[in-house]
């Protein structure tokens, strides 16, 4: 849950990008890092293997600015997508305020998307959180791949009840990256207000 530091007058939120391996979670963060002005971001940390696969997590702090005297910051994390890194994935979800699920539009990744969503549910469950209780935004990334899966098909496997908003994205050129981040951030803010 969000952390308020009254002494430093800061409110911090933790947003985690989740999804199958190679779906573009790190690419989303890299785009944000490239576009946000230097005075509004911290350094980006990537704990990755030599071939740039996320090993533990990527981290990027973004300063939204001051609201009602409080500096508001979003800490963006990605998890490693590969199936065998589940232990690390679970750790990153601790204290999460909002999740962006980055699905892969490549035709051979339908099952991987479904399995990753199931894994997200299981891991949140271990912290006693149900997916319905947490702000969750879906992103169908790589819309530019050949024979990209239809949006309805992706949503049908990861969100059969059409409960969540799904955004189209091509993270390599930034399409949909900010829309997704804004959507999850707004959702997180609304939830905190509703809780109060």
């Amino acid at each position: 849950m969000s952390t308020i530091n009254f002494a430093a007058r800061e409110i911090n939120f933790k947003i985690v990008y989740y999804g199958p391996g190679m779906s573009g979670k790190t690419t989303n963060l890299k785009w944000v890092f490239q576009q946000v002005p230097p005075n509004r971001k911290g350094e980006m940390i990537s704990l990755a293997t030599e071939d740039e696969r996320t090993l533990f997590f990527d981290f990027l702090p973004v300063d939204l600015g001051e609201v009602k005297g409080f500096k508001t910051r979003f800490h963006l994390y990605t998890v490693p997508g590969q199936v065998f890194y589940n232990a690390s994935r679970k750790l990153i979800l601790r204290g999460v305020d909002g999740v962006v699920f980055v699905a892969d539009s490549a035709p051979n990744r339908l099952r991987a998307n479904a399995e990753s969503m199931r894994n997200l549910r299981e891991n949140l469950n271990e912290y006693g959180i149900k997916t319905e209780e947490i702000p969750l935004i879906l992103q169908a990334n790589k819309r530019d791949v050949q024979d990209a899966l239809p949006m309805e098909m992706i949503q049908a496997v990861i969100d059969p009840e059409s409960r969540y908003t799904i955004h189209e994205a091509i993270a390599t050129n930034g399409t949909g990256v900010f829309e997704t981040l804004k959507a999850v951030s707004r959702s997180v803010l609304s939830r905190v207000v509703a809780a109060g």
């Binding site: 308020i4 350094e43 940390i45 997590f57 690390s88 207000v193 109060g196």
Partner: protein, 163 residues
Amino acid sequence: MVEPAIALFGAAYEKSVTVLDDLLRESGARYALLLDRKGFVLAHKEALWAPRPPSLDSLATLVAGNAAATQALAKMLGEPRFNELLHQGTTHGMYAEEVGELALLVVIFDTSVPVGRIKLYGKRAVSALETLTKDAVVNPAKMGIDTEYRDGASALLDELFRN
């Protein structure tokens, strides 16, 4: 269940900073930080003689990740927990210890300082900080974020993430 948050402010915050300050003075360490387990800095202090510390956000995030991974390892080995983390390099060392269930104390020191001294004063600080953080746990629903705050933040989102 949503994890409780620690909101350190007022007298509790001042006391925490004093504990960190005493720790630095008595142990001879460079930097002392109190973090929550999610990787957010709750309080920090630098020795007067120490140069500017590295990015505190990055430091906190990595230490929290490291501590979480260490606890997962402990569980795999059938241990309830590994109490402390110690890293020693050629010129700097880092010592981290749990402060109750929700926080961590991190001490960065020069390797010229004996590790035993860091641990001794570190553990003393932990016991003082444990009480302070326990009393500062708040229900997330009572953090006082209202619709005015949400609308202000929402406007800033548009300004920062304009396409």
